[in-house]
């Protein structure tokens, strides 16, 4: 089993006719994802590799029965695209776009919450249920179907983690990149809740980084509500305070948001925290078996 995306996912791609949209749509199709529609305002009626393109999400959903959206729209228009998908009752919305202004995301966040749609991202690699469905920009071949759920704030660091899992024979149920921005649709707790409820997931790997208090909040949640074994990793022990480390969300302010504080909170919650990234795969074998 898996969470949020699987063989029943019918994907539409917003921004399908752009360079990135085209490239990654093809990668998803190659992986086996059922891409049913594209949306680019003004290009309705065209096709991309035989996939019909529509002017609006609502129209695309009505014509094709799409139930998930992947967004490659440029940052200045991405919040609007997310809200359009939510207004059209798309169940799972995956926003890949990096660099959306925070105030745009604030409005968007509340619009999505009240719509009942689930937003993943923005500024994320997407979500993949290995062997079933890939909605995102992650390299497909490093994944391997299995029963460990992965949730992470990062992109390439997630690939590193997944690669180690696969090489050590630890397969994955679903891997979610929740995104590196300060305001995101799905947080650690949401993902943990879904993995806890999924009978196909037997253990969880949680990859955090400096900034905010999401890891601490998640640790608290795990104590009360997660019975499955959890492995954690936090990036940024050597990051200087007050600087934006690439991700807009990765800033240590004052003494809050440090990697040290997050690691301590996670250890206190009974999570096996990996300090040496090189040992993540072998630790997973010890904790989860393979």
């Amino acid at each position: 089993m898996s969470i949020l995306v699987d063989e029943n996912t019918r994907l539409l791609v917003q921004g399908i006719t752009g360079k990135e949209g085209q490239f990654h749509t093809r990668q998803c199709v190659e992986y086996g994802t059922n891409v049913v529609a594209g949306v680019t305002p003004g290009k309705g009626g065209q096709e991309m590799d035989g996939i019909p393109v529509f002017n609006t999400v609502e129209q695309a959903r009505q014509e094709t029965g799409a139930n998930a959206a992947m967004i490659f729209v440029p940052p200045g228009f991405a919040a609007d695209a997310i809200m359009e998908a939510a207004a059209a009752s798309i169940e799972v919305i995956v926003a890949i776009t990096e660099g959306i202004p925070v105030l745009d995301m604030m409005k968007c966040y509340h619009a999505v919450k009240s719509s009942g749609s689930r937003l993943i991202g923005p500024n994320c690699p997407g979500i993949i249920s290995p062997g079933k469905c890939k909605v995102g920009i992650m390299p497909g071949p490093i994944h391997w179907e299995g029963s460990v759920g992965v949730v992470s704030r990062s992109g390439t660091l997630t690939y590193e983690v997944v690669d180690q899992l696969t090489k050590n024979g630890v397969g994955q149920s679903t891997c979610i990149g929740i995104g590196g921005d300060p305001i995101i649709g799905t947080n650690f707790i949401d993902a943990l809740q879904l993995f806890q409820a999924d009978p196909g997931t037997s253990g969880i790997v949680m990859v955090g980084e400096i900034g905010g208090s999401a890891e601490e909040d998640a640790a608290e949640f795990i104590v009360d509500s997660v019975s499955k074994p959890v492995i954690g990793f936090v990036a940024g022990l050597t990051a200087p305070p007050g600087r934006r480390m690439g991700h807009a969300g990765a800033i240590i302010s004052g003494s809050s948001g440090t990697a040290q504080a997050k690691i301590e909170a996670m250890e206190k919650a009974g999570i096996t925290v990996v300090k040496n990234l090189g040992e993540l795969g072998t630790t997973a074998v010890e904790v989860f078996g393979n």
Binding site: P75, G76, G99, I100, P101, V102, L103, D104, M105, M106, K107, Y109, H110, A111, P125, I137, M138, P139, I142, S154, G155, T156, L157, T158, Y159, E160, D163, G180, P182, I183, V207, E209, I210, G212, S213, A214, D217, F233, A235, G236, L237, T238, A239, P240, G242, R243, R244, M245, G246, H247, A248, G249, A250, S253, S255, A259, N276, L277, G278, E279
Partner: protein
């Protein structure tokens, strides 16, 4: 993006938020002219750098006469100001804000920041103004009152009133405070701020509310739609190597160690810095070349890393996804040939087209140490640092 106090006050003025009279000066002569225009004493001379704690560091001084304005402006302009936020090397002061001195009855705090967890703006106010607000929050959290505002709904009257009553303001000050909160909110939205802070917001002896200080940070992601703020950028306040890196869309932050590193993706870059340290060496930088780096970006990345004279070795850690390993390998080989790399380089590559990438490096004839995994890479580069 950070802006100066005097720039923040220009924005305050535009929004009719009361500030002391005064202007910025780049020379002692200008400082004197401004003081003469003000035509009242005392006058305050404030160093303009992108760091807090200026007063404690000797960057804010009071003058009682025109000659004294000249002498304190002369002392501050050109000084290297060291505060808890500048680091031990300090910052060179190139400009000062010259303002009327005011008689202070009480110092308050008023600030607005976005809250990630609730996706709302938080107004914070406190009677404990003029102090480090992080310290107030840590030691006496009850002294900070908060109001959360959902941008779609906007700031409500009752929220501004709650802040006013929470600050125990007298009725005539409440009349000034409520519109001030609304103006601050509008300013925050107008310029896509990520922080607006007035510390202190003073009550003068003659019962006026005035923003004695002003701090504004603007969301980098929104700068594209604020030409006015872009013009506020002060390259003197930024590390020259970071400015150079930003020209090539490279995300570079200089650190104090001796192992340079180049990584794709911010999370992996931080994790790579951490593992360098764990292996017993110190990272010299953070450098994220991004997901779609070109050979040219890799070359410029190399040049910037190597321009830091502390660097004794370089670790390249790439997880190929969108950025294919063969493209990276080509970039490294081209860079090595063009830039000339005088220090040992350890490369660890994984992911898309890794075999092809390794072949290119092998056949290049360059002295590159290829690592099998992250820990192997970090250990190899730490070994280099020890023998350097």
């Amino acid at each position: 993006m950070n802006i100066h106090e005097y720039q923040a006050k220009e924005l305050f003025k535009k929004f009719d938020i009361p500030i002391p009279q005064g202007r910025v000066a780049f020379s002692v002569r200008e400082a004197k002219e401004i003081a003469e225009e003000l035509a009242s004493m005392p006058v305050v001379v404030k160093a303009q750098i992108h760091a807090g704690g200026r007063g404690k560091g000797g960057g804010v001084k009071l003058a009682q006469s025109i000659p004294e304005v000249e002498s304190v402006a002369g002392e501050i302009l050109g000084m290297t100001l060291v505060t808890h936020q500048t680091g031990p090397e300090g910052k060179l002061v190139r400009k000062v804000l010259v303002e009327e001195g005011l008689e202070i009855d009480k110092e308050l705090y008023l600030g607005v920041v976005p809250d990630r967890a609730t996706a709302r703006l938080i107004f914070m106010a406190s009677e404990a103004g003029g102090m480090d607000i992080e310290e107030v929050a840590a030691s006496t959290p009850e002294k900070i009152i908060r109001q959360q505002v959902k941008p779609g709904d906007g700031l409500q009257g009752f929220q501004a009133r709650s802040l006013a009553y929470g600050l125990n303001l007298e009725p005539e000050l409440i009349k000034q405070f409520i519109p001030l909160v609304a103006k601050l909110y509008n300013l925050f939205l107008q310029y896509d701020c990520s922080l607006v802070e007035i510390n202190p917001l003073i009550i003068t002896k003659d019962k006026r509310l005035i923003a004695l200080d002003a701090k504004i940070n603007v969301d980098d992601n929104a700068l594209y739609r604020h030409k006015e703020i872009q013009d506020f950028r002060d390259l003197d306040e930024e590390d020259p190597m970071e400015v150079e890196a930003s020209k090539y869309n490279l995300n570079y932050i200089k650190l104090d160690g001796n192992i340079g590193n180049m990584v794709n993706g911010a999370g992996l870059a931080m994790a790579t810095m951490d593992i360098i340290k764990l292996a017993g060496a110190e990272p010299a930088n953070f450098l994220d070349v991004g997901g779609g780096a070109s050979a040219e970006m890799v070359e410029n990345g190399f040049r910037i890393i190597l321009s830091d004279k502390n660097v004794k070795g370089v670790l390249i850690n790439i997880f190929g996804g969108i950025l294919r390993c063969d493209i990276l390998a080509q970039g490294v080989v081209e860079a090595a040939n063009k830039v000339g790399i005088g220090v040992p380089v350890v490369i660890r590559m994984e992911g898309t087209n890794v075999e092809e990438g390794r072949r290119i490096l092998d056949e290049s004839g360059l002295d590159l140490k290829v690592a099998t995994d992250v820990w192997d890479a970090a250990s190899k580069v730490a070994e280099i640092a020890k023998s350097a």
